[in-house]
Amino acid sequence: MRLIRRSSAALAALALLAGCPEAPQGPRYVGAGASPRSGGVLNISHETDVDGLDPQVAYNELSTMVMRLMFDGLLDYDHNAELIPHLARALPVVSEDGKTFTFHLREGVYFHPMEGLPEGRELIAEDVRYTMLRLMSPELGSPGYGFYNTIVGAEAYHAGEADDVPGIRVTGPYSISFTLERRDQTFLNAMAMTFAYPVPRENVERWGPEVARHPVGTGPNVFERWERGVVIEMRRFDRHFEQRPRPDRVVFYENLPRGTAAMRFRNGGLDTIHRQSQQDYHFFKNAEAWQPYLDEHPKSNVWGVGMNTQVAPLDNVHLRRAIAFALDREGWDRARADRLSPTGQLVPRNVWGYAEGIEDEHTLNLERARQEMALAGYADGYPEPLSFIITEGDVGRIYGELVQADLARIGVEVRIRQVAFSTYLSETGTRGRAELFMVGWDMDFPDAANFFEPLFHSDAIADTGSQNRAFYSNPALDAILDQARGVVDRSERRDLYRQASRILIDDAPWGFVFSDTLLEVWQPYVRGYRPHPVWPQNYRDAWLDLPRRRAGAAR
């Protein structure tokens, strides 16, 4: 008896593997065909968890995506990636010398209800000043500080040597001006980053270090509940200054694996998905019924194999170059279903500052790699294994195995360490800790400066939480970057970034490997959603065409 039961269980398991219950081939639900209206619940997800929603601190794509549902900035971007006023009434007034920017805020912008202020309160210029000072304070240790260090007095304040930042002046209840030490072509971009999204002092003081879990902003949704690692819930903020149709609630699921998310999406339980497993990617690309509801576009990002330039043996530039020239970018693209766009330099093709046709970019060149190995003194390979840190999951494992196989060809043994994202951040951001690591950068604003400065400027090095994960420090590069930030002439500035690209290719703090593409899919009843050129998954303008009905069913 026991035998039979066991074997039939095994057979049942096989049958299950062979023919899983089928989800529908096309969308299961379609919209009602109504005119734009508010209502319904927007269900969205991501495969990892959110580590914090404090706009002055959080600095990753996922937090940005969620924070933008609850916070607003003074400036924003339109769909052409051009700056537009948002909480500001108009783009700021710029002084003759190009160093003073005066913003006039909209009136009637309200913060969400919060403890002690059940009705919320109006946003005033003083809140903007408070937010900027908080961002630059030495205690907060914000990774965003460097974007604002050209403000007069910022450096002294950040060092704890001054109590105020004279470059920030409130000139009226709704007016605030910023004066810079020198011209800075990225200052307005910085003001559009989530770091500068205003927060109310009352809420920060109420929660202290816990404020990252109790977000209060002026944005289109009010934070309601956060079950850590599981779900974040928000409801519509009816006093938002931009009145437009929106869902009643937004529910964001954390830690939903790609496969599960795709299955749930196809069954109507999620309203959008933006990352798919290989098989789901193939499915959506080939399913005709889904074509009107998806968009595939290159992301403005860059990925590479990071190398800690401060630890032996990776402090040897020849070894780093050998690694950079041993990576088989085309092969990676195959292994990732043609979703990568191989590259050999820092700035992605679709971002201003890409060095078109620059010579001797990183590419697969085994002969060159072996020469560099010999110059490094390891003609017979490097004797010890090197560790390669990468995040958990199947994609991480695949990249790990690709690096392992590529570097084996030049005699470098790699051991893969798959860790949680937070561990990845702390391991690679701590001085002298990591060796090799997978590293990527998603654009904050459309300018080459946003790739060079946060990743390779010496100022981006910190003992812990370093954004410059390669711990790469080069005064020559710093000088070029500092100069480029102030240059007004576009072509002159572009030349400077080309020089900077040259330096990074030669010094190889990363082996630059690829930019990737993003396939976003949404339900037919999700309307008003359009992939944004700057913001990840910008669901702020989406509305739901409800009640949804079964596809194919008669009206």
């Binding site: 098989q279 693209d333 195959r334 292994a335 279903a337 199947d394 360490r417």
Partner: protein, 288 residues
Amino acid sequence: MDSRAFRRFRKNRGALIGLVLSGIVCALALFGPLAAPHPPDEQRREALLDERGIPAAIAAVDGHPLGGDTVGRDELSRLLHGGAISMAVALVATAIAVFLGLTIGVLSGYFGGLTDMASMRLVDLVLSVPFLLLAITVQRVFSSTDPDESLMVLFGLLGFLSWTTLARVVRAKALQVRRLEYVQAAIALGMGHGRVLLRHVLPNVIGPAIVIGTTLVAQMIIAESAMSYLGLGVQPPRASWGSMLREGQDMLTVAPRLVLLPAGLIVMAVFGFNLLGEGLRDAFDPKE
């Protein structure tokens, strides 16, 4: 095995099938790596992946009878090497478990008293911890990026968590044996405990130990697959059938064989060892 038991075993068709299946699996594990046509971690991305990243199908590329996997490695070679690792884990873990179970069970049953009390409470303790939970914790604590070390951790982990059933059965048998007259006589004649244990007790309990050990192999194959599937088992680029299952799942609808082949081998191995174990039990103990 005495001759009557052997005859019973030979007449049991299920047992023979089990013997053949587990023999095949063991042969695969032993000779597979030698027979593998390619190194198991060599990636031939150009040859074995098309531009859309779909792995070469069965017999699509010369020299790769089972096609390629998701990063362009030879599927057949990976199955053969993976089998060796899966079986090595299962056999070594079983050996550890059998050794521990036999020793603790025999001592506990023979000496009784405090020894018995202590070891049986230890059994209760080990049994009371959920297997996967403990396995995951231990694996996290001792996790290593060195493929060899991680294999050692896996051996030990599975072995040290699986000896309990065996210890209980052996103890019960040892309790019985201890009261037999010839054992009592040997003790009375002044034979040392060591000799009594080796000459009289052990031969009497070895039968059930072999039976349980055989079924344990099957359980260990499953356990290794589960651990590797969860990413807690063998470290890349090493393959085991369990880790291949995991690697293939991302392509299940596109290239189902990447899941079905390792899954089929796991089923075959488990089925084989279970049948063999049941056959042995029937042979040793006709009453059941």
